[in-house]
Amino acid sequence: MKQKLEQNIIPVTIFIGCCFLFFWLFYNPVKSFSEGVPGLDNRPARSASSEDSVVIGEKFISYVPAFTTSLTGNWPQFRGPGYDNISREKIKLIDHFPETGPVILWKKDLGEGHAAAAIYNGRVYVMDYDERKKADVLHCYSLTDGTELWRRSYSVVLKRNHGMSRTIPAVNEKYVVTIGPRCHVMCCNSVTGDLIWGIDPVRDFKATVPLWYTGQCPIIDNNVAIIATGGAALMMGVDCATGKVLWKTPNPDSLKMSHSSVVPMTIEGKKMYVYNALGGLFGVSAEGNDTGKLLWKVKDFSPSVIAPSPVKVGSNRIFVTAGYGAGSALYQVTRNGESYSAQTIQIYKPAEGMASEQQTPIFVNGYVFNIQPKDAGTTRNEFVCCKPDNFKNILWTSSTTDRFGLGPYILADNKFFILSDEGDLTIARFSTSKFEVLSKAKIIDGQDSWGPLAIADGMLVLRDSKQMVCVDLKVK
């Protein structure tokens, strides 16, 4: 009996062991897990687009062919004549709004977006998107009364994506250059509106339309339009008179167009175009025989979305910032013979120092002024000041009583004019030691008043997501 039992124990034990072994081998404890891999969202490989059929500048309507004006004030591009958001006109502006309220000269309904104005000799230029007609429309208005002088447009299909229009034209006495939401570049006669040329950087240079559409504002430098396309060319210079591409900067790192704009700077005695692309910050020669040559680049601060443009702070330092948790970085560009390089001075997150999500800071009198982003901790959405030797050291803020959201601001007649998200315009005395509000008034009722401000001849042009307003700020 005992022997029989012992005879059975061994095979039973082996059988049970085999069962466990098979169970261990074939049981999958993570069978309910799924791999997190690209493509689970059914995004098509290549989205349908009607870009190939776009005829840039195809339509034109002239309303006031014989318009004349004596105004000579200029805000010719994004951030004004000096690319610094400072008006240097000698026109005295009000400290306080009248008791009867701000003097509104005119209002215009626009397509949903944040595209703001450029002003040149009494004419206001706005690159709008007409959702009903499905067209990019360049409007030219009279600065004094808002009368539309002419419009040039072309059909292009867009869908709402947190607004559609975002760019500001560049204007001089001969030309106006625009970039549309899908990157279409158009050049017209700035007085008559006659079409001169159009370029499609997506079709011709393999540029990528940024998220929420184009935010880069073009610049005109010596009658050459400067566009940072990304794709097949990092940057290019286009002759405004002919549309001929004069130079192209190679793009071996495949950097992409951001919402930032090209800023001319002179560093170490060399004029250069500085651009903060998706993938890196770089400087391109803007003068001499090597115009268009890449001088330097850095890639250690590379946010997914960049809206603010680079700011030159001091003789050879460049401050860059971006939203969505990215923070800011400070670089120093140095020259060694004929070569240039950029060294990182600071990189930090938004809660650690000065940062911006949309607007570009102002550097003046050795201080930097800015509105903090939503993720800046206790200083969120406050107007702040710091010195460029240490952007982590905020000297003062507008405090919790004055928060401005993502609104734009400008310096004119020694006063800051700051527009809040909700359309409240604050006049604050320029000071490097404290924030001092002089006056505040509701200008516009809408939401997302993010379009940059433009001022010329004492008239401030601002907008919310659907309407543009001109306010007379001159002292009577």
């Binding site: 997190g36 690209p38 969202d41 098509p44 869908k159 994506n161 998220l211 969505y324």
Partner: protein
């Protein structure tokens, strides 16, 4: 012989009284029990006070918190770059795990048409950590919001999360209005 048992009057009355008393006591017991559990109020957190500290994920007495992320779809921008779905500075804007923010993979997205994506919450996977809510509020429209899912909440007398909430966002709300959502129309949508 007739085997059918006939109730006497006394026996009938006694039985009826016993059944009546038993039924009455049962009804009282059920009523008391029901009232003690349900009450007239429920715990809920006020989204306008919530600071997304992460306590909801770890303080709830339930093994997986009864606090879940709710998607108020009428506030959503349907963005490709969704700050509630993708981590800060993602390598690519796609569904790869290394680009996603949610630690449990509770948010999924689906392409609708260029350039829109629809985002959904898988409630079973959500642990109420609030990471997506924090980022959506900071950079997006704030359409992702934390709420106590009332069908999962035990409605404890002393809510363990409420005791640790640093922003005093928890309070008892009327049973007829069990959710406190902010938004255009405050529609609740679950994936």
């Amino acid at each position: 012989m007739d085997n059918t048992r006939k109730f006497k009057r006394r026996e009938f009355i006694n039985t009826s009284l016993r059944l009546g008393i038993g039924a009455g006591l049962g009804a009282i017991a059920i009523g008391l029990t029901t009232r003690s559990v349900e009450g007239k109020t429920l715990w809920q957190l006020d989204t306008s006070k919530c600071v997304q500290c992460g306590n909801c994920a770890i303080s709830c007495v339930k093994q997986v918190s009864a606090v879940k992320c709710i998607h108020v779809t009428d506030m959503c921008g349907y963005c490709d770059l969704c700050s509630g779905y993708l981590r800060s500075n993602p390598k690519d804007l796609n569904t790869a795990a290394e680009n996603r923010l949610c630690p449990t993979g509770a948010i999924s997205r689906h392409f609708i048409e260029e350039p829109y994506f629809e985002y959904k919450i898988t409630e079973e996977l959500c642990n109420g950590c609030g990471k997506c809510v924090k980022n959506c509020g900071a950079f997006g429209n704030g359409s992702l919001q934390l709420q106590i899912q009332q069908d999962q909440c035990l409605n404890c007398n002393q809510c363990a999360i409420a005791r640790t909430c640093p922003s005093q966002a928890f309070s008892r709300v009327d049973r007829d209005s069990p959710y406190i959502l902010k938004g255009f129309e405050s529609k609740k949508s679950k994936g």
